[in-house]
Amino acid sequence: MEEGRGIVFKGNAEGLIIVIPQGYTPEEIMSETEAKVSAASRFFKGAKINVAYRGPKLSDEDEARLKAILDERSGAVIESFSRQEESDLPPKKAAPAAPSAGIRRFFTSDINEDSCKFIRSTVRGGTRVEYDGSIVVIGDVNPGGEIIASGNVIVLGTLRGMVHAGAAGNRDAFIYALSLKPTQIRIAEAIARRPDDSDDHVLTPEIATVKDGLIIVEPV
């Protein structure tokens, strides 16, 4: 539930939603948003985003203050700012932006807090698991098995199949496996395949992340 978690940033392909719990004073809203935005500024930097907030209606003056905080602290260009009504619609689509690099997608800064799907069996060939959140497999992922998650993917076993983490575009997602021997891994739009001469007998857990647009794998 969103209550009790304080202010929550939700990101999707279209933009950012700020979820404000009931009972917050304007001062609390401003200070907490400022702290969160500052902490997450590296994700926002240089991008154009549409922002909406959910929760109690703010006065025009407070809305303006909130937008000013986002403008100053996020490092992003705030294309629009509005309150999202009862309906669950995402904020309106960003204006068609300049080619590729100009567009950045948005995510909750804190990928460490994410809903999670647990799979307590071997994911065999021919099986595809998709989830909006993170996926934990307690078992192996075999060749021909596919795991697609918008968040992180953790395999407490041997990963031999295909995993796509950050599948909605989140480059901060990671893939962790007790034994990482995948056919292919993908994080956001980066793809890495297994080197043809790879050593099959690595027994240390490894983690795959994206650095400078490339997937790198390191022992943990």
């Binding site: 021919g126 078992g139 075999n142 060749p143 021909g144 076993g157």
Partner: protein
Amino acid sequence: MGEVIVITSGKGGVGKTTTTANIGAGLALLGKKVVLIDTDIGLRNLDVVMGLENRIVYDIVDVMEGACRLKQALIKDKRYEGLYLLPAAQTRDKNSITPPQMVKLCDELRREFDYILVDCPAGIEQGFKNAIAGADRAFVVTTPEVSAVRDADRIIGLLEANEIRSPKLLINRVRQDMVKRGDMMSIEDIIDILAIDLIGVVPDDENIIISTNRGEPAVTDNKSQAGQAYRNITKRVMGETVPLLDLNGSEGLLSKMKKLFGIKPA
């Protein structure tokens, strides 16, 4: 009440029919009443491997369509007391029978026989669905080849999805010399990926080809290594604990056994 065991693999040519014939004859030699069902409609060959081709009058489709009684279609193997074959139709296709019909057939045979072995066609379509419909247990046959192991993995997933729990693995055509050179997947490698228990390992053995051509299952041949492997597997089917055949022809057998049987599905 008899037990229905389906012998399946996904990939063709890995030894399902050979395995069905050998386990069937092996069980009959040990005094069990056994019927083999060939569900590879359109590509039947269990009858050839059993040397019973020329005795076919009715087949499984005739039974399903009510053209004959079940008893009329069962071919008695005169060499082995208690062994029967229900042959596939050669001029029809896999859609000529349905899974509910197979369930009914298996239930009927269960009352008469100790073991009903179902030889499954390759693939994951209608023929596979028919073959597994009435099964209590499944043996998945693979060879030590990457593509066969991939298909076995897929099949195990489908068996589990169809509530046929804990299928057992049979690894066929192992060549220990190649494994030693690192040119063939080892038993351990295969079990590591498939994560199911082993029912047995059968070496690659030219006696299989000779016996297949003669229509006499190798399990009856005391000189054949594959025959010995199938005799051991037969005993395991009946619930006995028999050590794995030592394909190295030397020591180290016991430790390997423990390792292999110690592995539990993940």
